[in-house]
């Protein structure tokens, strides 16, 4: 058993006969409730991979030069150490795929770029294949030595931007999104940028929600590995609880092992359709950032992490999780999950040569890190979030144009 600093927070580690390890973490939340998470870790010495299956169905595989994350048997997201990324559907079809390419710039110099081909996008919780794959190009930049793609928007023709600065001729009626709840819901919009701001939030959570729900016939929460793990976790905790009761010293160290907490809370969280609460100030901030992103897109200027950090407004800037991430809490080191759409802001501005930033969760889905938690996020992932934000703005500009034409969204 490994205590975390207070009697209600600790890890229980158990080695299995096959060499795998079960880790159950109990943590006391600020509201006094206990949260129990757990994973089974299997190390494969042949290919050097470490795979963790989490009780909520998440699967994370760390290899020598890659990390693969998925929610149960849903879409897998791969990040390679060389900066390339990919996403694959459970049936093996690619969602997007990166490759290195090069081109000659105006000075005749050869420049290395990352080319991302997107085959599908998410619509109403389902992947929809593009009639023609969308190809985007990224500059290769280095953040503390780690390569990362930096999206350089390809400008639309000027007319495509004009509509975003003038009010709609007829208000656009919008169907309420079931996955987000704004403090003051709006059913029709006069201002295109206000619509785009709200769409930026809801479309990303829609995508994240799609990753947490069963895809096709494959269940997520009841993936066999996760179900077996949850049963093992209950046994481990029951065993520890019995040991604690008969051992005064152990009892003094631990306030209480909550045997019920994990299964019930995890079950509540995963696949839950409880709308994500979006505070009004968060909504207004995202609207501003969308407005900035539209103008920068028109100017062909990328959203760059270094620029945000130097801008003077970094402390209020919100980052929208682009792809599911496994992150560690800054204080306890316990892992939690950031899903697509989750919004985070700087808790402390990064300084020095650290590869991570302390980020505070601002709004998140039910299976994600809780709002208010401070987590460590790689700077390269923050750049990927800026890329994703810019790309989503680009997609939503097209969606809003279509909405304006039909009068509804």
């Amino acid at each position: 058993m490994v205590p975390h600093g207070n009697r209600n927070s600790f890890d229980i580690r158990q080695k299995n006969a096959d060499g795998s390890q079960i880790v159950v973490s109990q943590q006391q939340l600020p509201d006094g409730t206990k949260r129990v998470t757990g994973f089974k870790q299997t190390d494969d010495t042949r290919d050097g991979t470490t795979t963790r299956v989490y009780a909520d169905g998440r699967l994370v595989t760390q290899g020598r030069d890659f990390e693969r994350r998925s929610v149960g048997s849903g879409t897998s997201f791969v990040t390679h150490r060389n900066g390339l990324r990919a996403a694959v559907l459970p049936d093996g079809r690619p969602v997007f795929q990166d490759r290195f390419t090069s081109f000659r710039d105006q000075d005749g110099r050869e420049r290395r770029m990352i080319e991302r081909t997107r085959y599908a996008r998410w619509w109403n919780g389902r992947p929809e294949y593009e009639p023609r794959p969308v190809v985007r190009r990224y500059d290769v930049v280095y953040i503390h030595g780690a390569p990362v793609a930096q999206y350089r928007p390809s400008r639309f023709v000027p007319d495509d931007y004009r509509g975003h600065y003038a009010r709609f001729a007829v208000p656009v009626v919008v169907a309420a999104a079931t996955w987000v709840a704004f403090a003051s819901p709006v059913t029709s919009y006069n201002d295109p940028l206000a619509l785009m701001g709200d769409m930026q939030i809801s479309s990303a959570f829609e995508e994240g929600y799609a990753y947490s729900t069963p895809y096709g016939a494959s269940p997520v929460y009841d993936a066999p590995e996760a179900a077996t793990l949850r049963s093992q976790m209950t046994t481990v905790r029951q065993h520890v609880k019995t040991s604690v009761q008969g051992n005064a010293a152990l009892k003094d160290q631990l306030a209480g092992v909550d045997v019920q907490a994990a299964s019930s809370r995890v079950q509540e969280a995963v696949g839950s359709a409880v709308p994500i609460q979006i505070p009004e100030e968060v909504r207004q901030q995202v609207r501003k950032q969308v407005r900035l992103s539209v103008a920068m897109h028109q100017n062909g200027r990328p959203l760059v992490l270094a620029d945000v950090l130097a801008s003077g407004y970094a402390r209020i800037y919100l980052f929208q999780t682009a792809q599911p991430l496994n992150v560690a809490q800054a204080s306890a080191g316990v892992e939690c999950f950031l899903n697509t759409g989750d919004l985070i802001g700087f808790s402390k501005l990064p300084a020095g040569e650290g590869a991570f930033a302390e980020m505070k969760v601002v709004a998140s889905g039910s299976s994600s890190c809780l709002p208010g938690e401070v987590v460590l996020v790689r700077l390269t992932d923050l750049q990927e979030m800026l890329n994703g934000f810019s790309e989503r703005v680009e997609e939503n500009m097209q969606r809003v144009s279509a909405c304006a034409a039909s009068g509804k969204c």
């Binding site: 000027p158 501003k288 103008a295 028109q298 003077g312």
Partner: protein
């Protein structure tokens, strides 16, 4: 009267307690002879009438002196405790005030930082939008020129 040691009721003028055998040096009531924590000023005042009996006999004088001494100790202790607790309260209050002031100052500073950050973001939006509009105007002019040339 009551035994000064065990508190049991004993016959008046007893020299020894029949229950615990303790010598009864002062035939004081229990409330005066037993220390009851740090007395409050009011409790000390309550002992005054009992400490000044005008009809005491010569045999009761040692008891009277002991009573007076206990009263002095109680008074000094009471006043000391009152002063100490007052000082402690003041320190706690002072620390709480300082903490409140510090938190309030931090909030003001944070609000000012957020306002300043918002202003910088607004400024950045304005700069980018101005450039975007200029770009759009140039593009329209170029298009018009091309149309004119083609005609």
């Amino acid at each position: 009267m009551f035994c000064t040691n065990c508190g049991k009721a004993i016959a008046p003028e007893s020299k020894f307690c029949p229950d615990c055998g303790a010598r009864q040096t002062a035939g004081l009531p229990l409330s005066q002879s037993m220390p009851v924590g740090p007395p409050a000023p009011a409790a000390a005042a309550m002992t005054v009438p009992a400490a000044a009996p005008s009809t005491s006999s010569p045999a009761g004088r040692p008891a009277l002196w002991a009573g007076a001494a206990a009263l002095v100790v109680a008074l000094v202790g009471g006043v000391g405790y009152w002063g100490w607790s007052r000082t402690d309260d003041q320190i706690v209050r002072q620390l709480a005030d300082e903490e409140q002031r510090r938190v309030a100052a931090e909030r003001v500073a944070e609000a000012a930082e957020i306002t300043a950050a918002q202003a910088l973001l607004d400024k950045h939006i304005a700069v980018e939008e101005a450039e975007a509009q200029a770009r759009a105007r140039t593009s329209v002019q170029d298009q018009n020129k091309r149309t004119t040339v083609n005609r």
